[in-house]
Symmetry: none
Subunit: 259 residues, 2 copies
DNA sequence: GAAACATCTTGAACTATTTTGGTAGAACAT
DNA sequence: ATGTTCTACCAAAATAGTTCAAGATGTTTC
């Protein structure tokens, strides 16, 4: 297994468990304790987790504005994201207009949507999603203007907001950095602002969120769960989380993850 | 198997897998590990993927770049474009604002510019160029809005035009499909319109054009050679062409092609 | 066209570097 | 006190970098 893959898996475990011992990690990943120790130290150094005696605890999401580098973000929960994306794409009807928020989960949806053979119109503020969708000649792809923060593929700022403000769409696929039973939140004001616009511009808001995002709070709230028409998540979501959302009458669909 | 085909297949694998070891690639493609290593290093250099010890992981672009092999080939295999791009990047001064037209030659300039360690502001209508530039934290990258035609990474249309119309930049790097001693031309009205705006918005217009574009005419003229402040081309340009341009008082610089 | 020549690419052999898993003693928690 | 975890080190394995000869490709010359 590749070092990078190993580290991503460690973060996945930590996303689900909050706390793990090095021993457990060593057994779960089938690698020696020495290597686990080195990986965990590395991730600690890089700020992805915190070390404790004998193990590691997740810290990334506790820090409300922390964003992992793109390479790692896309590797974390990649199976869950792909599964969620595949189901999301199936919800698109021929001829509809669809908004794709930026993010790795919505990117998975775009990748699946690009393989559909139905025509639809798409708009996104993520250049990676855009170039993905534009592979399919049936998809009319538009991109918001805006400014990219370095290391990301996300367009933000006044131009992006204005582009979205003029629109009316059938569906918005929105991602989120964190979700509680009531609130969706993300890491920056600008991101939050734009997500709010996406949600306001669409008849049907579909939230794509893998199970590791429950229940956390990030820096900046951008909407309420009640404003979402459908939540798509993976089957690793906890019973607590499903109950809390269903109590609020939120339509929740779980997607089985391929091994 | 052709080198270009090999590299395209590596990107294809990487689009599906997120990470692969060199060993796996070697087996999957039936080529030696040495060759895989060379290909992967090459693609890393060109920004299509990132290397890790023992393998490669997909960057934003790799997972979306199911570009036809021909597109990859023309984008990264051309020594002339790379050489022109490298020289173009050197013309950027710290703090300047720079417009990057869409196209493979301007993309080469963007790749070189992304490796500079000077801060500047960039605006482009090509999402590939944008994701290239945004890898450098010193570069403030903006993207025009617009619509993508399928199979391309180019943004066109009213939104793109409007984005550019508001700007004033120090430099515009402009590509062209064809050039005669008097006229620059390209393949579509929309493209031509946007290129015209780029040229009007910049104090200094620098035309990046490899020698194969002399002297042809494409469907739609978008400007006169006299409106260009500097023409950068490669040394394979014919003597006729240089003479014709110099007769018109056009500043022409030839770039030696690296071996 | 074909032969001769130069150039580039490939795969393999070899060396250097990095990574890995193990071990021994020190530090730690209960 | 006792078992566990940490640090530091080592040898083995894997990967990266280098070099080179054989083959493929491209160019020139006749």
């Amino acid at each position: 297994m590749l070092p990078a893959k190993r580290r991503a898996r460690i973060l996945e475990v930590l996303g689900a468990e909050q706390m793990v011992s090095l021993k457990d990690l060593s057994e779960a990943l089938g690698i020696s304790i020495s290597t686990v120790r080195r990986d965990v130290d590395y991730l600690d150094e890089a700020g992805y987790l915190s070390r404790t005696h004998g193990g590691a605890i997740s810290t990334a999401r506790a820090s409300t504005t922390f964003e992992p580098e793109a390479a790692i973000a896309s590797a974390i929960e990649s199976a869950a994201k792909a599964a969620i994306g595949a189901v999301a794409a199936q919800l698109i009807q021929p001829g509809q207009s669809v908004l794709f928020d930026s993010g790795t989960t919505t990117a998975a949806a775009a990748r699946a949507a690009a393989k559909l053979s139905i025509p639809f119109t798409a708009m996104t503020n993520d250049v990676m999603i855009a170039s993905c969708l534009s592979q399919n000649a049936l998809v009319q792809t538009s991109v918001t203007g805006g400014t990219m923060r370095s290391g990301t593929t996300t367009l933000l700022g006044a131009d992006a907001v204005n582009s979205v403000a003029r629109l009316r769409a059938d569906i918005a696929f929105v991602g989120t950095h964190a979700i509680t039973p009531e609130v969706l939140s993300d890491t920056s004001l600008e991101l939050a602002d734009l997500k709010r616009r996406f949600m306001a511009a669409a008849d049907r808001v579909i939230l794509l969120v893998d199970s590791s995002k429950f229940f956390n709070r990030a820096f900046c709230a951008f909407g309420e769960t009640s404003a979402v028409d459908l939540v798509l998540t993976d089957s690793r979501i906890s019973a607590d989380a499903t109950a809390a959302l269903k109590d609020r009458g939120i339509d929740l669909r779980m997607v089985d993850i391929a091994p």
